[in-house]
């Protein structure tokens, strides 16, 4: 009960700040709201007994990714520029559709049609969270893990290839 109370606080703040990310006009404000949103998600990870994921979320997203974001915004001097609306009046229908989806999913969740059986979990194993994640990564998920390393290399090469070529005459 107590946990649910906290969950709803974090979830509400996360959703409100996510809406702010896309609705405020100043890119710097957007980035700050995104930080707020990601911190709430980290808090939800803590509630789900995943402190490692919560820490990774804070380090990588809030720390590294968002700092880079803000750097890019500052360096490109977009801080002053206010984004103009380029959506050609699509926001109203999009909001209506999203609302319908929200109501539909909420209705089904309340009616109990959207339930999944609770999976088995080992409370003792969950305490050793980092170890569990590490073990899973290097045993069962070793193959996708290696593929992800190739993806990162490709992202690096691709970004450099596109940016460097623009500089050449």
């Amino acid at each position: 009960m107590f946990e649910q109370f906290f969950f709803y606080i974090f979830a509400t703040v996360a959703i409100v700040s996510a809406i702010c990310v896309i609705s405020v006009r100043n890119p710097v404000h957007s980035a700050v709201f995104l930080i707020v949103c990601l911190l709430q998600v980290a808090a939800i990870f803590v509630l789900l007994r995943s402190p490692f994921l919560a820490a990774a979320q804070v380090f990588i997203y809030v720390g590294a990714v968002m700092v880079l974001f803000l750097f890019a915004v500052m360096v490109l001097d977009m801080g002053k520029a206010h984004w103009k609306e380029h959506l050609h009046g699509q926001s109203a229908p999009a909001a209506v559709l999203a609302g319908i989806l929200f109501i539909l999913l909420g209705y089904m969740a309340l009616k109990g049609r959207m339930t999944a059986p609770l999976g088995t979990y080992n409370e003792a194993a969950l305490v050793k969270n980092t170890e569990v994640v590490g073990r899973a990564l290097f045993t069962k998920y070793i193959f996708p893990f290696e593929v992800v390393s190739v993806i990162l290399l490709l992202a690096l090469v691709g970004a450099i290839a596109l940016v460097m070529r623009e500089k050449r005459p």
Partner: protein
């Protein structure tokens, strides 16, 4: 999970590992080559891929390896062949193409190789996580390749649209995967059927996962209404990359579509057939109707590829061995006929400096009689006229639909084929019935050997697959048999 139960089997990831190693060694080699010699990387990549081809075409290990993540079965071997052949043709044409647009770089070639590795991961993924990282590896390569003609704003536009919509579709797919995982408690494709089938088959929670997964895949195969990225990305990308996206990316996406919906979600067939039915019908009709007014031939081929995706979807809706094998056969034929058509578009761009617009094809039969004839062959095959491969492919898919009693869907397939004949025939009409207006542009030199080789091989294969489909169809049927229970 203890290490003994993982079934670590390096043989089962051999094809994709070899392609990744090839890509990495080309990356290193790139540092040692002078600026004018980058074509060597292209040729070495082709040789490397041709060496991998016999290894990849064997079903190495039937059991899932690496904790059930990958499975190197006959199904993935069949698709690996399509990927490698498409990449070999695309790379061969690229060497000359990059010289022409004056942007020879080493990166281009090994990013193509990374894309091939990603497709191979997709085709042999036996787990939704492995499937997802495979999709990302392939898609990320194609985003970069699409934006590769940096001096052309169309290329940047296409790349950006492809990237943004691709990221959105990945989000939708992940949402679907997480619902599926939430209900069944596993991401393993074969375990999902066991855990989520039976009594759970009517669960709304799980159905939402199925619907969102289908939407994510529909983005990748460019089905209506998830197709909006396709025409812009196709037009903007370097033409060999366009050919590779329309063949390789589509084949890989259909491979995962087939595996997930046949192996993991068969219990939900009574629900998803309606969804895919509507998706298929809308895609076929939309693609073939919108292709008619296109003036740019690459945009026309983009819409035609959307229409083809709709036809191929029929094979999944049918959910029988003939339908799934028909999908595989269709994609094999499509690889050759579409690559041939794109090769001719590039050939005209090379010899005459145009060929971008349908009107450029006026009077082609008198100037390049052989090429005009082969272009007509590819276009008629794309339209599905006997005795070409395109006819046999459509025949297998439609007969599977009729066997599964989807008469209306088969009828819509025939109607869309009839509509599509109109725009394919328009190009043939321009080539044979119209004379060129004004002076023809001066020939821009002798084209490279690559064009001839690719055009003749693809033409021969298109005809062979039309006249003698039995052995190829047999391989496809054998490959899907273990998947369908």
């Amino acid at each position: 999970m203890p290490i003994e139960t993982l079934n670590v089997n390096l043989l089962s990831i051999l094809p994709m590992a070899l392609v990744a190693i090839l890509a990495l060694s080309m990356l290193v080699l790139d540092f040692f080559l002078k600026k004018g010699d980058k074509g060597a990387i292209g040729y070495l990549s082709i040789i490397g891929l041709l060496i991998v081809l016999p290894i990849a075409s064997n079903a190495i290990e039937g059991a899932p390896a690496f904790g059930g993540m990958v499975i190197a079965d006959a199904f993935s071997a069949f698709f690996n062949c399509i990927f490698i052949l498409a990449a070999v043709f695309a790379l061969y044409l690229s060497v000359d193409y990059l010289k022409r647009i004056n942007s020879e770089t080493g990166e281009y070639y090994y990013i193509v190789l990374f894309a091939v590795a990603g497709m191979m991961v997709m085709s042999s993924a036996n787990d939704l996580i492995a499937l997802y990282v495979g999709i990302e590896l392939m898609a990320l390569s194609f985003y970069v390749l699409t934006a590769f003609r940096v001096r052309d704003t169309k290329s940047s536009e296409g790349g950006l649209k492809y990237f943004v919509l691709g990221a959105l579709s990945s989000g939708i797919l992940l949402y679907g995967i997480s619902f599926t995982y939430g209900f069944s408690g596993t991401t393993n494709i074969s375990d999902i059927a066991r855990l989520a089938g039976g009594a759970g088959a009517n669960n709304t929670f799980m159905l939402l996962g199925v619907v969102l997964t289908a939407a994510g895949f529909a983005f990748k195969i460019a089905a209506f209404p998830f197709h909006v990225w396709a025409p812009d990305a196709y037009e903007g990308a370097p033409t060999p990359v366009t050919a590779l996206i329309s063949i390789g990316s589509k084949a890989a996406s259909f491979a995962v579509f087939l595996r997930v919906f046949i192996v993991a979600f068969p219990a939900f067939q009574s629900h998803w057939w309606k969804l895919l039915w509507a998706l298929s019908a809308a895609t076929m009709l939309y693609g073939s109707v919108v292709a008619i007014p296109q003036k740019n031939i690459i945009r026309m081929l983009a819409y035609s590829s959307i229409a083809h995706a709709g036809v191929i979807l029929i094979g999944i809706v049918a959910l029988n061995g003939a339908g799934a094998a028909g999908v595989m056969y269709y994609l094999l034929v499509y690889a050759f006929m579409n690559m041939g058509a794109f090769a001719i578009v590039m050939y005209l761009g090379r010899v005459r400096g145009n060929g971008e617009y349908v009107s450029d094809y006026a009077g082609m039969s008198s100037r390049h009689p052989v090429i005009a004839f082969l272009m007509a062959l590819f276009l008629l095959s794309l339209a599905g006229i006997p005795p070409t491969g395109g006819f046999m492919a459509k025949f297998f898919i439609l007969s599977a639909a009729i066997k599964a009693r989807y008469y209306w869907l088969a009828a819509i397939g025939v109607v869309s084929t009839a509509i599509s004949l109109f725009f394919y025939a328009r190009v043939v009409f321009y080539m044979y019935m119209k004379d060129a207006e004004g002076d023809s542009p001066a020939p821009a030199g002798r084209p490279a050997l690559a064009y001839d080789v690719v055009i003749y091989i693809t033409a021969a294969m298109t005809m062979l697959l039309g006249l003698y489909p039995a052995p190829f169809m047999e391989i496809a049927i054998k490959a899907v048999e273990p998947l369908i229970r």
